[in-house]
Subunit: 428 residues, 2 copies
């Protein structure tokens, strides 16, 4: 019998207010969906995980949960093998999980197990990942073009000092001036030291102009990044990149596919970064063959957990890739997990992405994590070092049931405002 | 202040009787040298590590030891950064550590820390590496051409049931018949299910004939491996490999260098394996570029510890390399460490190498590990799950002081029997 056993697994879909943010795929819905996983051990310890939400992933997690009872939460390889067997089609004709479902399920469960493991031995998760190389993890301001409004109205009370940021979170930002104003409010409140703009929403010159306006406003000491979400043509991406030479810290996914990324990389002196052309271990041989990017944005939700992320970090060190971190709309469980992981990776030297400011005031933690000079202090309490507020969790779940969304679909949200709008893999 | 601190580090060089085994570099000396590292925590727990011995490595470990006191044994990244700083030349003119010293020091200390960590939380080391995917780790019989004799005479008493193997350990084995007799005695006693012959000692046809004789003696169900230690010419290696097509499980380092290995690989259908052309993370880009081998023999002593070995395992999974495990003459601390690591790596699917039978009766454990049907049961007690016998350790250390050896030099040992013999990078 294992020393410690998984007794219960609870999966709770939640809906979190999200402003109408624009990207190449369309528009964010009024609520972002997340799945909260709680694994309870036989000695009553709870471990928590959080991943992007969808009905398919929830169903897969429920199936996984049935097989985890009785397993040792430290037996990560055995748990992974169990999940892998569930992910594959079987003789009973169960639907196989797609790659995204597989990594999400694996990540949610692994993170919850690490939280449990850390709590059971009185160590923060970062200690189980090799120990901290930094006490604070720096994040970047993550700017979006957006329509006016702040998404579903629902909150747990806000920091009164955040008035400026809350106004910007409501405000429209559809041109360079709007982006600069948004940046100013976010940087003033959170203290971020670098800035990323999610592009792919408008024709390229407008987005180049927004970057140039940010440079003008913040000066050369604040690193800038632009992410057109792989939607530009090769010639557009190269022409835009030439305008941004010496301005961007990195140029994220200007075009789609490793071969196209490599073509752009050869034409420019700005380093290219990706979380779209090299997104799984299966993509690494192609990354080496094409030399498609200089920097990979890791993400434990999409690479399959902490251990996989550490292995990706070694790949980056060995094959000369820089390492940064991607995010989606998320809550504090994910933010804590990101902080523990980033603290344990020596070569994760870029400020990490986070959407956390966009969910400001809606987190499910008893004490939401805070930013100081753009950085989050790595929690030092055992496990992830956070406490989930079960009342807030219940309210966010009720919101999920009420909002009617079951998966993210930015195209449909955009069609509500622009009938007939369709996603195009390449635009501009 | 850390929860747990390193209080003392003890480094003990030991000399272990080793038979006159032949290889491409010459002859094993009568004693194999190992370094035993004991790290003691402030709460009185001891963690143990073991690596190949040399005066240079001992000196480097002593330097490292001075910097470890007060550090948290769980802070592996911080410890590694400390060691890395020591490894580099500095302003004070200290001698930089070479690559081998660096990985050995790092491995010894990391393994000792894992032993400490496991003991401190009541978990076997394998649980800290992701958990066991197998309860028993299979090893291969490791055959050597040898002169008569069993090396320095010194032992802690032997298993009476080992009479047959002890005779073979003494016996000369200089031709195919001698190799088959050695294999029979080793397999009878240890139950190994696969067999490796260290070659590079005689001209190629003799070694090919030894493999064919082993196949004749053991039949097609016992996998065979030949390791000429990279000493053959390209044409010799290809001609020998063609004779062994369908006979060898893998063909280990027939030639020197990734480019030559790739040439041989293209000419043959047998998979090539290496622990000589791809031996560090710096070699991985070349391995991908050349496609120099199908299988990498990992070794936590040479790759820098457990975490590095897990990262190598991921490389192998991603880039289509098989994974096996290399060994040197070693004692039970290393064997236990190898077993914990091998148990935690899903894609380590080949039987591992071990020299342990050649050190039979000389181990420093209170209860030496035993083989059943060629496999070692992964210790389930906390940490490495072994107990070091301090009297045996003291006797092996006294033997080190008495034997006069300070580093391994197989060429000098060979010259004692064959004056004027010199190592040649390519022979035959």
């Amino acid at each position: 019998m294992p020393i410690m056993q998984i007794k219960e697994v609870h999966i709770t879909p939640v809906a979190v207010p999200d402003p109408p943010l624009l990207n190449a795929a369309g528009l964010h819905a009024p609520y972002a969906l997340r799945l909260i996983v709680e694994i309870v051990s036989d000695d009553g310890i709870s471990g928590w995980g959080e991943i992007p939400g969808s009905e398919a992933t929830r169903a897969a997690l429920e199936t996984a949960a049935e097989h985890l009872a009785g397993m040792d939460p430290w037996a990560l390889n055995a748990i992974e093998a169990t999940l892998e067997a569930l992910a594959k089609p079987d003789a009973r004709g169960a639907t196989p999980w797609d790659q995204r479902t597989w990594v999400h399920v694996r990540s949610a469960i692994e993170v919850a197990c690490y939280d449990l493991m850390g709590k059971s031995v009185g160590r923060p998760v970062v200690d189980l990942l090799g120990g901290a190389v930094r006490d604070r993890v720096p994040f970047a301001a993550y700017l979006f073009y957006k329509y006016g409004g702040a998404g579903g109205e629902f909150g747990f009370g806000r920091d009164e000092s955040a008035v400026g940021w809350q106004a910007a979170r409501q405000a429209e930002a559809l041109d360079p001036a709007g982006i600069v104003a948004q940046a100013r409010a976010m940087v003033d409140h959170y203290g971020f030291q670098s800035i990323k703009l999610k592009g792919g929403a408008f024709e390229a010159q407008q987005e180049v102009d927004a970057i140039l306006a940010l440079r003008e406003a913040f000066g050369p000491d604040v690193p800038l990044r632009l992410d057109p979400n792989a939607i530009w043509r090769l010639d557009t991406a190269i022409a835009a990149g030439k305008q941004l030479d010496g301005v961007l810290e990195y140029y994220e996914d200007p075009v789609r596919g490793q071969d196209n990324m490599a073509t752009v990389a050869r034409a420019l002196s700005i380093p290219l970064a990706t979380n779209m052309c090299t997104t799984s271990f299966d993509d690494l041989p192609g990354s080496v063959a094409h030399q498609s990017e200089a920097i990979i944005l890791s993400d434990h939700h999409f690479w399959g957990g902490f251990r996989a992320s550490l292995e990706l970090a070694r790949f980056c060190a060995v094959f000369g890739r820089g390492l940064s971190m991607h995010s989606n709309s998320h809550l504090g469980i994910s933010l804590a997990a990101m902080a523990h992981l980033a603290a344990a990776v020596p070569n994760l030297t870029y400020d990490c992405d986070t959407h956390y400011p966009w969910q400001d005031g809606h987190d499910l933690l008893v004490e939401p994590l805070t930013f100081e000079a753009g950085s989050v202090e790595v929690p030092s309490a055992p496990g992830l070092g956070i406490e989930v507020d079960r009342d807030k969790l219940a309210r966010l779940h009720a919101q999920y049931l009420a909002c009617g969304l079951t998966e993210r679909n930015d195209e449909i949200e955009m069609q509500k405002l622009q009938p007939g709008w369709t996603f195009q893999a390449t635009r501009w």
